[in-house]
Symmetry: D2
């Protein structure tokens, strides 16, 4: 039950700090015989890569992934796959200033209190840079899912930046790759750009809400009661840096629904049960229904900002702090590929866990 | 990584179905020498017990807990504590009608699809009755925390029923035990009573939002990055029946905050760091700050309702369903003691995990 | 990673003490739809039951097992199966004498040192009585293996009592059920009877070696490198009370073999590879070969003996101890069904784990 | 419950193959603030390094370890420590010959059957080269134990090569570092040298028995009943390549002892209990007594030998095999530092686990 490992049978262990030599993921339990090329993984890493628009950190990292084990002749061998990403643009000098001060809203103070020391360079292990390893691991999970589950796909996007929500009536999935926000509502994306420019100029930062949808997953994934699919997804998303809330389907708004509204009515389609709605977010009793699996999570604003904040230093003296460095004005943007990666890992894990227990046989209806 | 076990070093394994002979929890990893009496556990079970007001199920269960192992001469021995609760009022006949139909919004269909068979009597393992075992286990965790962490306390309450929110300006913790909703806002409780009477009469059900606050926890609990305190809390709460969303501190609203608002500013108090606000919900970087730990979760409305819903049966035929039985019009109410129990278990687990790694030493400030 | 749980996906959690109300096992991860009756489990428990010959303890326990969850209409549901066995003949007064003294060679002193208190009645949790729960759980594993793996069987027997080894030339498996020692060599069984009568009369006890063989297991079970089939078997057997050594195939004698002797030569049979010998004990690189899986373990003599031994008491005073109570003169005898049960649990666990990862597909030869 | 991870709270995940770019270990759960230098780890790796005498493989690997994370300013940070060792002398061409044949007694065939493909270059993941990662991780555990447990030490040595046992009467621990066999009996070492020269010349290989002793460990380590210290040690040692048997204390010979012989009598020393003998190997009921912890394991002879052996190929054709490559005539020699490393990891893990549960408090005697 390693603190830096997640998953039940498909397991990912990550290591590395923001300003050390690099970071990586050991991916264990992958089925053998899955075609896996470095280029396939790189594609996902490139989406998370910093410095792609003016709305993300200007740190320049190529985030090139190396496959150091577990793949032979282009296929997974069933043994651990080690993925490594070297840090190249780590300017530790940027951090000397905050060496003795704690950024409010940041893990600086809790790492110090827990461990009695901390790698102050870029947040060390608490840096969002760790998520690059997750994205690489998620690429392995996607490759396996592509092979095991026909028609499977995962799509992540932003639905809110600061207080501004996208309009679901205007959703066009084709827009997602066309703006800097992975936003299916092109109009919202334009407003967000203006809002974030403003935010950045004023030395501030903004939060966001990410939605990740998995389509084509079979029914029957999830292991009640403490390995519920939604419980594992909640932990996976909440473990991403800066996340403060996780929702499945109707989410927090489920509290507002009446029982009649909440019940997604069922009819019989040509290939099995069909649902009139999806307030459940594709999960009932912790087990997938076969509908889209819908997860949302809120990302708080970056705590590293240019506006001075009241804080204390190691000596216990009260002071102010301004964080220069190179920081994302809205870390939520780059959380999109991370959320997709976590979804892929959790679903593959449950696919394999379910296959172990049930041989992927499903109860017959009709 | 058992599906019916949670926790890392303090671990709880539950078993049992709604209409079998009973249910229970095996609690492993408890420190030795903790005073533990049946009566102490019963106190928490009595809060979750059905049939205590007209707003909960009329099933009459005494929920009497037996301690079958792990306690000797009134103290925990450090070996597994088995807690058992017998079912006494299980009228299986109530369920014969829904034997071949799937309740929309219920785990009926997913259990059938995954396992190819299901215990249709009261939902079997998917019943909220399983949560009695969690409350019993939570009692053990509370006993240990009372002994290990001075001034520690946990308080749960409802902050929303259906679309109606309690007013935080009117919160009086003294009110919590005085109404049927564990609500600190007496006025809201009155309105909710009227709203739920209406809901019940119309053959419907309502959702709710529960908030659980732990005070007095030390800084330094939580194990980044996949054993973050908030990630474990999210999984714990999401694993409770009918929960669709989990929030820490500002939660989903964190997306709306600016970086300056989100940063809980720090000053120096007589006993260490003091924070001007608690948008973080007491957790930064997955590690507790020493502030109140604040978790909220949304409970969807009961899917077992008297209003007919469209569904299918085992033969794949389309039909309607009406669930008679005895069901909670608002399961969120009884989720309050369950949320408290999960909070207690997760915090004790992390207290012990942290003590193992760090010997409970904290980094010095000032 | 619970201390009282074993297994990776098929997981068994046990609870209970020698002189408490009872003991039990929560069996999680069993495939659904497996026929399971109480009578089937009882059959294995009856083999371990005390008081069946003059060579085992005279404590009279019926060891009746109850199935309290996880089985519906005679089939496993895929949810946790709780098996409970009540203690009926626990005469706690027998133990009052040893309350303040530590039996040499017994867990009395280490439990005291670790936990600061101990249940002195019959050893509490350290009693071999705990193994009844393993045997019950093993029955579930056998039922599943019978259904999943055709021609699968497990056979355990004694190969040594005290310094006296059975003669493999005279092995006749038909003899196993015909003597009090589960011994395939009828002659050895007779000698052992005389030897143990002598041992018992002189107020002493004897050790033994148990061999457990699983036939019909498919190749491919085992998960290198820390979930090797032999590593998991070694842990499983070493966790049985009083076990001090575990061997796979040639075992400790493998050190004496030359490389040419050790290599089990391979030829091609009608259904795949055939081996000329089985020094590997059916496991290579931690993965099953399809040959018989052969495990042996040594059980030390009971430490509760009538001959006085030098020891100390709680006050630190030096003294002598004589253990009256009712004890097995050779606990190794009753360890046979326990070893079989552990073998069944480990093999089912690896069958399911392998099916999850590889879909039970095997590399083609020929 | 990762297949390539071991440990409960101090956890080690290894990756890498014999002929890939390298291998490594992610070490998680280490206490923070432990001084750790690359040179300290290198010292242990140098003991396992190939090519140090004519009795080990002539492959020339420097086995230089890099610390890529988890250490800052010379101290562990409490976050994952990644240790990497690059492969430099991997001549893949050596293996082309055995690409389509299975070495008898080797994991070649089982990897093929399980995974449907295999990295035939030097055994891939099944190579003993993987143990370099364990030795590196063991170095971290030693550093932590040195800091946490005063007077703690671990000493490993060979006690048998082929059928030839060392003579315990002639043991002189000072001899261990003075011969190629880590043998405390100088005379035995001389005989073994002659024996192994003979073995090597005749194109054969030999087994061995390794003994590892940990001194100075406190009483109270070990977590009954499935996390017993001896059960975890048995799994740890059995997971080492080519190990076929594991013994604690008297080991398999415990079967030959009488109850009176087996009971290590206890008297009272100036600092607590003192034992007249140590047949228990320092562990009772799965918990350490405070005596020396004594583990032995048998290593079978290398299966890669120059003498032709009967086998089959991928096409299912019967054939012969001769393994040229560069192989250890007695892999048991280099297993000594590996056994020491596993001992260190298991003991640190249990030290931390016990501290979590009991705060390292011990029951008072006297």
């Amino acid at each position: 039950m390693s603190k830096n490992t997640f998953g039940r049978v498909f397991q990912v262990t990550t290591w590395g700090e923001s300003h050390g030599p690099g970071l990586g993921a050991v991916v264990d339990g992958c089925p053998p015989g899955i075609a896996l090329e470095k280029e396939f993984l790189q594609r996902w890493l490139d989406r998370r890569k910093p410095g792609q628009s003016r709305f993300t950190t200007q740190r320049r990292e190529k985030d090139e992934v190396e496959i150091l084990s577990g793949v032979f002749d282009g296929k997974t061998t069933g043994t651990p796959i080690h993925l490594m990403i070297r840090n190249t643009d780590h300017r530790s000098k940027d951090y000397s200033e905050i060496r003795d001060k704690f950024r409010p809203g940041h893990a600086d103070i809790t790492y110090w209190q827990k461990y009695g020391l901390r790698d102050y360079r870029g947040g060390g292990r608490s840096s969002a840079r760790e998520t690059a390893a997750r994205v690489a691991a998620g690429g392995v999970a996607r490759a396996a899912l592509d092979s095991l589950v026909p028609q499977f796909s995962i799509k992540g996007y932003l639905v809110q930046v600061g207080p501004h929500r996208a309009n679901r009536q205007k959703f066009d999935l084709g827009q997602i790759e066309k703006n800097a926000f992975w936003c299916p509502d092109a109009e919202a994306a334009m407003h967000w750009a203006a809002f974030l420019d403003e935010t950045r100029k004023s030395g501030n930062s903004a939060g966001a809400v990410v939605e990740v949808v998995a389509s084509g997953a079979p029914p029957g994934l999830g292991a009640p009661v403490y390995g519920k699919l939604d419980a594992d997804l909640a932990a996976a998303m909440m473990s991403i840096n800066a996340v403060k809330g996780v929702e499945i389907g109707a989410g927090m708004d489920a509290a507002c629904l009446s029982g009649t509204e909440n019940a997604d009515e069922i009819s019989m389609g040509p290939n099995g049960p069909v649902y009139d709605s999806n307030r459940a977010g594709g999960i009932l009793g912790g087990i997938s229904t076969g509908q889209d699996i819908v997860v949302r999570f809120a990302v708080k604003p970056t705590s590293s900002i240019l506006t001075p904040r009241k804080t204390i230093d190691l000596a216990g003296e009260e002071t102010e702090i301004v964080t220069k460095g190179r920081h994302d004005p809205c870390v939520g943007i780059r959380a999109v590929p991370v959320g997709e990666a976590m979804m892929a890992c959790v679903l593959l894990d449950h696919f394999l866990l379910d296959r172990g227990q049930t041989d992927s046989k499903r109860g017959k209806i009709g």
